[in-house]
C-alpha cells in the first residue's frame, strides 16, 4: 500500500494470538486492517470482546502483534519516540491515587519531556479545560469516577499530542460530563488533532465521528462513514386503528412478526423510508393514525445484522 501523507494511523493484517494455557492459543485479531486520516474523529466500534481494546493496546505498544503491521504517524508502533505525539486514555482508567490532580499531570508532563516553564501553564489550562481547576490540589483518591475520567483525558493531552486515542471516553460520565467530553473532542478536532475513539455507544458515533470501523470477533466488518450505517438502522413504530383487512394482510405478509394487532389497534415497526407510503395508503383506506415514533436500532442489533449478513 502506497504511503499517503494524510494517513496518520495505518493497520494492515493485524493478527494477535493469546496463550490462555501452555499448549492452547486463542486468536483475538484475525487480520485487522484500517486507516485513519489526519484531522478526523474516527470511531472504532464493536461489542464487548470484539477486539477493540486489543487493537488499541497494540497501537499503544502495550501488546505485541503476532503478525501484521501497525503504524502511527508513519512509525512502527513498537518504537517509543513517536509517542511524543500521541496521547492515550485507557478504558476505566485507574491512576496514582496518592497524587493530587496537578502532581499527576506534572508527573506525566515530565515523562513526556514537557519543559518546566511551559509545564505549569499547560497543567492549569488543561485542568480548566476538563473542569477540574477546583480539584487541582485534591488527591485523586477523593475524585469521583467522572472526575477520574476527565483527569485521564487531561493526561492524554498534557504533551499537546497530534493524535489522541480514547478508549470508551464517555464511560462513567453523567450527561453533563458526556457533553463536556464531546465538546472537548470537537475542540481537539478544530485544533487539527486526529482523534481515535473506541466506543460502543451509537449516539457518540453519530455526533462525533467522521468515519468508523466496526469490529466483531476480531474482524473488521465495516469501514467508512457512520451515516449510511445509521440510515440503514433507522426504523419507526407506526400505530394505527381501523385498518382495512386487505391492507392488514398485505402488511402482515410484508413485515411478518413486525406487525402486531391488538384488537382494533395495529402496531407496525418498519423502515423509515416505507413510513410515508404505508401511512398514505392506510389513511386513504380509512385508517386512523395513533402515533409515529422514530425508532433507532441499537448498535448491537445493527451489528448482529452485519454479522449475519457476512455469515450468509
Amino acid at each position: 500500500m502506497a504511503d499517503r501523507p494524510d494517513v496518520v494511523i495505518r493497520v494492515e493484517g493485524l493478527v494477535k494470538d493469546f496463550r490462555p494455557g501452555f499448549f492452547r492459543t486463542r486468536r483475538v485479531l484475525h487480520g485487522v486492517s484500517f486507516e485513519v486520516r489526519r484531522g478526523e474523529v474516527f470511531g472504532f466500534v464493536g461489542p464487548n470482546g470484539a477486539g477493540k481494546t486489543t487493537t488499541l493496546k497494540t497501537l499503544m505498544g502495550l501488546i505485541r502483534p503476532t503478525a501484521g503491521t501497525a503504524q502511527v504517524l508513519g512509525r512502527d508502533v513498537r518504537e517509543t519516540e513517536f509517542r511524543r505525539h500521541v496521547g492515550f486514555l485507557p478504558e476505566a482508567p485507574y491512576f496514582y491515587d496518592y497524587l493530587t490532580g496537578a502532581e499527576f499531570l506534572r508527573f506525566y508532563a515530565r515523562v513526556c519531556g514537557v519543559a518546566g516553564r511551559a509545564r505549569e501553564g499547560r497543567i492549569d489550562t488543561l485542568l480548566a479545560a476538563v473542569g477540574l481547576a477546583h480539584a487541582r490540589d485534591a488527591r485523586l483518591r477523593t475524585y469521583s469516577k467522572g472526575m477520574l475520567q476527565r483527569v485521564g483525558i487531561a493526561q492524554a493531552l498534557v504533551h499537546d499530542p497530534q493524535v489522541v486515542f480514547l478508549d470508551e471516553p464517555m464511560s462513567g460520565l453523567d450527561p453533563v460530563g458526556r457533553k463536556e467530553i464531546r465538546d472537548l473532542i470537537l475542540k481537539l478536532q478544530e485544533e487539527g488533532k486526529t482523534v481515535f475513539m473506541s466506543t460502543h455507544i451509537l449516539s457518540d458515533v453519530e455526533m462525533l465521528c467522521d468515519r468508523v470501523a466496526i469490529i466483531a470477533n476480531g474482524r473488521i466488518r465495516y469501514e467508512g462513514s457512520p451515516h449510511p450505517l445509521l440510515d440503514e438502522g433507522e426504523e419507526a413504530d407506526l400505530v394505527m386503528t381501523g385498518i382495512a383487512a386487505e391492507l392488514g394482510e398485505e402488511l402482515a405478509s410484508r413485515y411478518g412478526s413486525r406487525l402486531r394487532g391488538i384488537g382494533e389497534r395495529v402496531e407496525l415497526r418498519l423502515p423509515q423510508k416505507d413510513v410515508a407510503d404505508v401511512l398514505r395508503r392506510a389513511l386513504a383506506e380509512g385508517a386512523e393514525l395513533v402515533s409515529v415514533t422514530p425508532h433507532r436500532a441499537s448498535l448491537e442489533s445493527i451489528f448482529l445484522d452485519a454479522i449475519e449478513e457476512k455469515a450468509e
Binding site: 493469546f18 505485541r64 509517542r83 485507574y94 496514582y96 515523562v111 492524554a156
Partner: protein
C-alpha cells in the same frame, strides 16, 4: 539526557508513593522498635553488652531492609499492571527498560532512606548505651544498602515473570541461600563427592554471595578495614544488580499488558 529525565521522573514518583504509604511507616516503626529492644537484650548479659546491642541493631536493619526490599520489590511492577497504571505510562515516550530502571532506582532510594533513618536510631541508641561508634559501623550499614539493592534486583527479576507470591518465595530463598553459598562452597570443597563439589561451586558462582556485604563482625569488634573491603563488594553488588536488571528488562520487553 531525555532518557535520564524520564528515569528520574519514574524514580521520583516511586519514592513519593512510598513516602505516602502508611504501611511502610508501620514497618519502619517495628524496625526502630527492634533496634531499641537491643538495649533490653544487652542487659541480659554481663559481658560484651555493647556488642550484643550493636549486633541486634545491625541485624534488625539488615532483616527489615531485606524484608522491605522483597515485599515492596515483588509488587513494584505487579501493582502497576494490576492497577492498570502501566497502560498510561507505557503509552508515553518512555521505553520499558527506562520504566523498569526508574522503578528500581526509586525503590532503592526509598530503602536507603529507611536504612538511613534506622541508622540514625542505631547511632542514638548506641550513644545512649555508651557503645562505641566507628567507621566500621558506617561501612557495615553502607554495605547493607548495597545488599538491599541486590535483593530488590532479584525481586524485580522474579516479579517480571511470576506471581507476587512465587516471586517473594524465590527472592526469599535466594537471600537465604545467598548468605550460605560461602559456607556451602567451603564444605563442598571437602566433600568426597565430585557432584557435591560441583553443585556447591556452581551455587557460589551463580547466586549472589551476600556474605560479601556483611561487615557486622568488623563493626562490632572494631577490626581494621581496607578500602577493598568496601569497593570490591560495592562493584560486585552493583554489577550483579545490573545483570539482574538486564534480565528483568529482557523478560519485561516480551510481556503483553492486556
Amino acid at each position: 539526557m531525555n532518557s535520564l529525565r524520564r528515569i528520574v521522573a519514574i524514580a521520583h514518583n516511586t519514592l513519593r508513593e512510598a513516602v505516602r504509604n502508611r504501611v511502610l511507616y508501620a514497618l519502619l516503626f517495628f524496625a526502630v522498635a527492634l533496634i531499641g529492644t537491643g538495649v533490653l537484650l544487652s542487659t541480659l548479659s554481663y559481658v560484651e553488652r555493647e556488642r550484643i546491642l550493636q549486633d541486634v541493631g545491625l541485624g534488625a536493619i539488615r532483616v527489615f531492609g531485606v524484608l522491605l526490599a522483597i515485599f515492596v520489590g515483588i509488587g513494584l511492577v505487579h501493582r502497576e499492571v494490576d492497577r492498570r497504571t502501566i497502560f498510561t505510562i507505557l503509552s508515553k515516550p518512555i521505553s520499558r527498560s527506562e520504566f523498569l530502571v526508574g522503578k528500581y532506582l526509586g525503590l532503592v532510594l526509598t530503602l536507603w532512606l529507611q536504612i538511613g533513618i534506622m541508622a540514625l536510631v542505631f547511632v542514638a541508641v548506641s550513644f545512649g548505651a555508651g557503645a562505641p561508634i566507628g567507621a566500621g559501623h558506617a561501612a557495615a550499614m553502607f554495605l547493607i544498602g548495597v545488599e538491599v539493592a541486590v535483593v530488590v534486583a532479584v525481586a524485580l527479576l522474579f516479579s517480571s515473570f511470576s506471581t507476587p507470591m512465587l516471586a517473594a518465595f524465590f527472592t526469599g530463598s535466594v537471600w537465604l541461600i545467598g548468605h550460605l553459598t560461602r559456607d556451602l562452597r567451603a564444605r563442598g570443597a571437602h566433600s568426597d563427592s565430585e557432584g557435591t563439589r560441583r553443585v556447591t561451586e556452581w551455587l557460589y558462582h551463580t547466586l549472589p554471595d551476600l556474605e560479601a556485604f556483611d561487615l557486622t563482625l568488623h563493626a562490632s569488634h572494631q577490626l581494621p578495614l581496607a578500602a577493598s573491603d568496601l569497593w570490591l563488594p560495592l562493584g560486585y553488588g552493583f554489577g550483579y544488580a545490573a545483570l539482574l536488571l538486564l534480565g528483568a528488562t529482557l523478560l519485561f520487553q516480551r510481556r503483553d499488558f492486556r
